[in-house]
């Protein structure tokens, strides 16, 4: 009895193997393009390492801050109470909210999770784990130029 069934069993196994591998390969052929499709294409990151701001140094009052565009990312320009211009990445190192300068506190603050940074961008209290990235600020012909560290 078993001898009679044996070849048929083998044939069935072979057919099942073909069937399941074809089904598997078919799924791969569908899922691969779909998964690639869902990943957004790499867009050229703004390569600007330097920006000239629209505001003039005279327009930035001491003990104040404002957001500027550094390529596609927000930056924070502040003038310290002592009159020095400084710039940082405005993206909080905790969970990427946009920070602001609090003139009442005299330092940088993130509203989302109550993170505090000092005037050097160093994380003081709250959840932020790292300091804000600091940019170099120069004044050239009465224009503010912000650049990343070389």
């Amino acid at each position: 009895m078993t001898e009679v069934r044996e070849p048929e069993g083998t044939r069935r196994r072979l057919l099942n193997w073909f069937l399941s591998t074809s089904a598997g390969l078919f799924l791969v052929a569908v899922l691969y393009p779909v998964s690639r499709y869902l990943m957004p294409p790499q867009v050229e990151e703004s390569t600007a390492r330097t920006v000239r701001l629209a505001v003039t140094p005279g327009e930035v009052k001491p003990n104040s801050g404002q957001i500027f565009k550094f390529g596609s990312r927000p930056g924070l320009l502040i003038r310290t109470p002592s009159g020095e211009l400084r710039a940082f990445a405005a993206t909080c190192t905790h969970l990427a909210c946009i920070v602001q300068y609090r003139s009442d506190l005299g330092h940088i603050w993130c509203a989302c999770h109550n993170g505090h940074f000092d005037l050097n961008g160093k994380n003081l209290t709250g959840p932020p784990p790292r300091p804000l990235e600091r940019y170099v600020v120069k004044v050239q012909q009465d224009r503010i130029v912000v650049s990343m560290d070389a």
Binding site: L38, M39, P40, V43, E45, I67, F68, K69, S72, R73, P74, L76, A90, H94, L95, A96, C97, I98, V99, Q100, W109, C110, A111, C112, H113, N114, N123, G126, P127, P128, P129
Partner: protein
């Protein structure tokens, strides 16, 4: 019962008699915990309200960063009853999450996940996840400031995951930052992917409820089981209907007196406003992230928090598997305590989230 010729014509083709028989057989046990049986049906009803109002909103909504806010402004101010449809959609979403939580915790405390109902629990927890994803993706669609920052934070959370984090972040946002590409993606997820997932899980969930019938709590079973039961049709269904009509009345009142707000249009180059907060059902997690220090045992605090919530979610899913005593038909006070601890934690942190000053 005497049936007309149409009924008979249909019966020969789709088998109405069998369905009628099934409907007549379905019974609901009557005991002192019967009230909790209504919350699943209530959640289902509110979901149907969401489907209906959601389809209506699609007639005016435009899913792009340039037009989304303006299209909702138009809907709220120009379109007749536009404010009503959107407000009901927003309120029913909140009520649905609320009844879902009540349903979840009543099932947890009554240990209704005991064998053979483990799969009903699993599909239910998946449906909870889907409902929260509905809330999260829907929140962004008006493209206002609150939504924008909630999405920045919420999507940044996945980036915290080891290895797959950055990949998932790009997949969710459709790029590195939250932009119009994110809005389009969230729209697709909100109106196509999640509804499909819901239908699949809900079909299985409801099928299992029909197959196993209502779970009778162990305490009731020990006292000799239930002596009484009511037919589902029409006794329980009519009671359900009263609940649903009350929900509609409540939605109308809420929508009329507290219409959904729109706020300011999102500006990717403005600081996050003070008092930024997520939907109330994410508040306990949001508030926890505020309290965590920047580092715990050398690991970044938010990583610990997020992995902790992930572990808690996994624990919730696996409860039927972990609660061996309930599976054996014994009392399991430990899991009751864990359930109480969860509820207390969520209530306390939510309370703090709404009362503590944002700068403290």
């Amino acid at each position: 019962m005497q049936h007309g010729s149409l009924w008979q014509w249909l019966d020969e083709r789709v088998g109405l008699a069998e369905m009628e028989k099934l409907a007549k057989q379905k019974e609901v046990p009557v005991h002192r915990h019967t009230i909790w049986y209504y919350f699943g049906g209530m959640t289902l009803f509110l979901f149907l309200v969401q489907v209906t109002t959601g389809m209506l909103l699609l007639f005016y909504y435009r899913p792009s960063a340039e037009e989304a806010y303006e299209s909702i402004q138009f809907l709220m101010t120009e379109v007749q009853f536009g404010w009503l449809i959107r407000s009901i959609h927003a309120w029913a979403a909140n009520l649905m999450i609320f009844t879902l939580f009540v349903h979840l915790f009543s099932v947890l405390f009554l240990k209704a996940y005991r064998p053979p109902r483990e799969l009903t629990w699993y599909t239910g927890v998946v449906l909870l996840g889907v409902a929260l994803a509905f809330g999260f993706t829907g929140y962004l669609l008006p493209w206002n400031t609150l939504a924008y920052f909630a999405t920045r934070v919420g999507t940044e959370i996945v980036a915290v995951l080891p290895v797959v984090g950055p990949f998932l972040l790009r997949l969710l946002r459709g790029g590195q930052e939250v932009t119009g590409a994110t809005l389009t993606r969230f729209f697709a997820i909100h109106v196509a992917i999640l509804p499909m997932l819901t239908v699949l899980c809900l079909a299985l969930h409801l099928f299992l409820v029909q197959k196993h019938g209502m779970s009778v709590p162990r305490g009731v079973e020990q006292r000799g089981g239930t002596t009484r039961a009511m037919p589902f049709v029409p006794h329980f269904l009519l009671r359900d209907l009263i609940g649903w009509l009350s929900a509609v009345a409540m939605l109308a009142v809420l929508a009329a007196f507290f219409p959904a707000e729109l706020g300011q249009k999102a500006d990717p180059f403005a600081p996050a406003p003070a008092g930024i907060k997520p939907e109330w059902y994410f508040m306990f997690m949001f508030q926890t992230l505020k309290y965590l220090p920047s580092h715990i045992l050398g690991i970044e605090g938010d990583v610990v928090g997020i992995l902790g919530f992930g572990a808690a979610g996994l624990f919730l899913l696996l409860i039927p598997f972990l609660d061996r005593r309930a599976a054996r038909g014994q009392s399991s006070p430990l899991f009751t305590l864990i359930g109480i601890a969860m509820v207390v934690y969520m209530l306390l942190l939510t309370y703090l989230g709404y009362t503590v000053s944002p700068t403290k």
